[in-house]
């Protein structure tokens, strides 16, 4: 019975793993964070963000980017999802 149960459950476990990886990939989307960095720079250059606001945003995005890279690098050893 164990073997039959395992065969029935395995596709669902695998699917959950993939969905989890996709959710994490979306949550820690590095390209989106890079775009935010560029937008921050643009708004600063256009004078719509002060130097202080620019630097605060930049530090926040860079911290998120660092976290995203760490999470992605840990994930890459386990599940790879190509969009």
């Amino acid at each position: 019975m164990f073997i039959v149960d395992d065969l029935l459950v395995r596709p669902f476990v695998s699917l959950i793993g993939i969905l989890q990886a996709m959710a994490i990939n979306e949550l820690f989307d590095r390209s989106e964070l890079h775009d935010q960095l560029k937008e921050n720079q643009l708004l600063y250059e256009l004078g719509e963000r002060s130097k202080d606001e620019y630097e605060t945003h930049k530090a926040e995005i860079e911290a998120e980017l660092e976290l995203a890279e760490e999470v992605q690098s840990r994930l890459s050893g386990r599940v790879e999802v190509k969009g």
Binding site: H34, K38, L42, L43
Partner: protein, 207 residues
């Protein structure tokens, strides 16, 4: 004192010696030559260059200085961070990539790269973007696709323009800005070395 050199870009072989504000605070730019090519370099203490805002800006500034020095010259830009153990290692890389650099020099001879961003103000009627693109394209040799990294961006392209057409390109920009001053902010940058119109990959193993 190390023998490391930091490379900015490749030119037709020539003697070039300039005072610059270079990467990692370097001030003296000179060339390393190999069979008809020259690489603009400064000395550096490390081959692991920190990608700080200051260093990236310095890399771009040096390229711009070379690009606009005297009557201007064509330079194939290297991407940021190309530091080599010594001039001999750099010549080894040139030996391997000589054809690619020669082709790139021919492709971009007498040109500069100009950047154009149209940013929505949120007011007024937006411009007809296809008409704007056509007007800019008419004075350019080549252009990149849009990189619309912000919802505010309507257009963001780099243009390869002949040096002698730079003023004409600027005049088109002035017209667009005047016609749409309520609805768009225009950010016009350059001239730059044509980063977006050459594609030469140098692997880390070469350094």
């Amino acid at each position: 004192m190390s023998d490391h050199v930091y490379a900015y870009g490749v030119l037709e072989q020539q003697d070039l010696s300039l005072t610059v504000d270079g990467v990692e605070g370097a001030t003296e730019l000179y060339t390393v030559d190999y069979k008809g090519l020259s690489v603009a370099v400064t000395d550096i203490e490390t081959t692991d260059v920190e990608r700080s805002d200051e260093n990236v800006q310095a890399h771009d500034d040096v390229l711009q200085t070379v690009l606009t020095h005297e009557d201007g010259r064509t330079i194939v830009p290297m991407s940021f961070g190309m530091a080599f153990k010594n001039a001999r290692t750099l010549k080894g890389v040139l030996r391997g990539a000589r054809r690619a650099f020669r082709k790139a020099l021919n492709d971009i001879d007498g040109t500069v790269e100009l950047g154009v961003k149209l940013v929505s103000t949120g007011d007024g009627d937006p411009p007809d973007l296809s008409e704007v693109r056509d007007r800019l394209s008419s004075v350019a040799i080549n252009e990149t696709d849009d990189d619309l990294f912000s919802d505010r961006l309507l257009l963001n392209r780099s243009y390869l323009v002949a040096r002698e057409d730079q003023a004409a390109f600027g005049a088109v920009i002035d017209d667009i800005e005047a016609e749409h001053e309520e609805s768009v902010l225009v950010k016009y940058t350059g001239p730059f070395a044509p980063y977006n119109f050459v594609d030469i990959q140098i692997g880390a193993e070469g350094r």
